[in-house]
Amino acid sequence: MAEEHALAHPTPRQYAQIAILLAFLTAIEVSLYYLEQSIDAFTTSVSAPLLILLAVMKFVIVVGWFMHLRFEKSLVSKFFTTGFVAAIVLYVAVLFALGAIVLT
């Protein structure tokens, strides 16, 4: 299997480190949530982008390292990103057409 790609897979130790990082990010997410709940100045419009950013980071880490997408042929990531991007674009458009997202 190893000859499939030039990059070496992480070792179990590195996997554990990645998992710790993920746990850490989750902890930040949850604390952001509580900040938003308790501090008035910290509104949704501040926390939401941060939360989304964190989710994207976790997403990328899991896909890239745990699913080995980093090490996979580029065709695979093309398929995968196409699905992901298509879903986001289309459903944002649907929500927009339904009036659930309003441009202000």
Binding site: E3, K58, V62, M67, V76, F80, A86, V92
Partner: protein, 208 residues
């Protein structure tokens, strides 16, 4: 994975991608799953923001999912699912390095963590129902149950697949190379279900 061995292959008979059929198939399938969960998530996004007070019998207030969340609880179960991705990847890693016993241990651990997650979800659902929010309370509740329910069903199928891999390995005393690919495939599926939860946790639970 003989095809890979001949990737340089003047005597390979195919103009392929060099990726095993089943693995490519799994990736293709997962890319379509985005559309599936995207529909469920946008369904929830649409309904969570609406006001249902006009449809309630007089005197009753609207019970929305976001009013009932137990964030610490869900954070813990999200953490559990996240860690199951770690055990999954360790199972695969153990298999690659030829350690069949360790593979089985990690497979079992993954299944266990998955079960804990599902158990948490069942608890959450019963809790919500006891507080009065059922699937028929309002469309936002319907969408919440449908989204998290379908995610739970995916986890459930993942557990089934993990269990059968565990069983086969136990019976045969190890997994063959072909079956080993199945570990990788189940792993892909499992991580995918995990990333969907990452999105759900943020969009459904944390962002008000």
């Amino acid at each position: 994975m003989s095809d890979v061995a001949h990737a340089d292959g003047h005597h390979d008979v195919h103009e392929g991608t060099g990726i095993d059929n089943r693995k490519l198939g799994m990736w293709v399938f997962l890319s379509s799953e985005f559309m599936f969960f995207g529909a469920l998530i946008s369904n929830y996004m649409l309904f969570k923001g609406r006001d249902y007070s006009a449809f309630m019998p007089t005197g009753q207030s609207v019970l929305l999912p976001r009013g009932l969340y137990d964030i610490p609880f869900t954070s813990v179960s999200s953490f559990v699912l996240l860690m199951s991705s770690l055990t999954m990847v360790l199972a695969h890693d153990a298999l690659v390095s030829g350690d069949q016993n360790r593979t089985r241990v990690w497979l079992a651990a993954t299944g266990m963590l998955g079960s804990v997650f599902i158990g948490g979800q069942v608890f959450e659902f019963t809790e919500f129902v006891q507080q009065g929010m059922t699937i028929s309370s309002n469309p936002a509740a319907s969408a919440f149950f449908m989204l998290t329910g379908f995610h739970g069903a995916h986890v459930f199928f993942g557990i089934l697949m993990l269990l059968s891999l565990y069983g086969i390995s136990k019976r045969q005393g190890g997994l063959t190379e072909v079956q080993g690919l199945n570990v990788e495939l189940v792993g892909l599926y499992w991580h995918f279900v995990d990333i969907i939860w990452i999105v759900i946790f943020t969009i459904v639970y944390l962002i008000p």
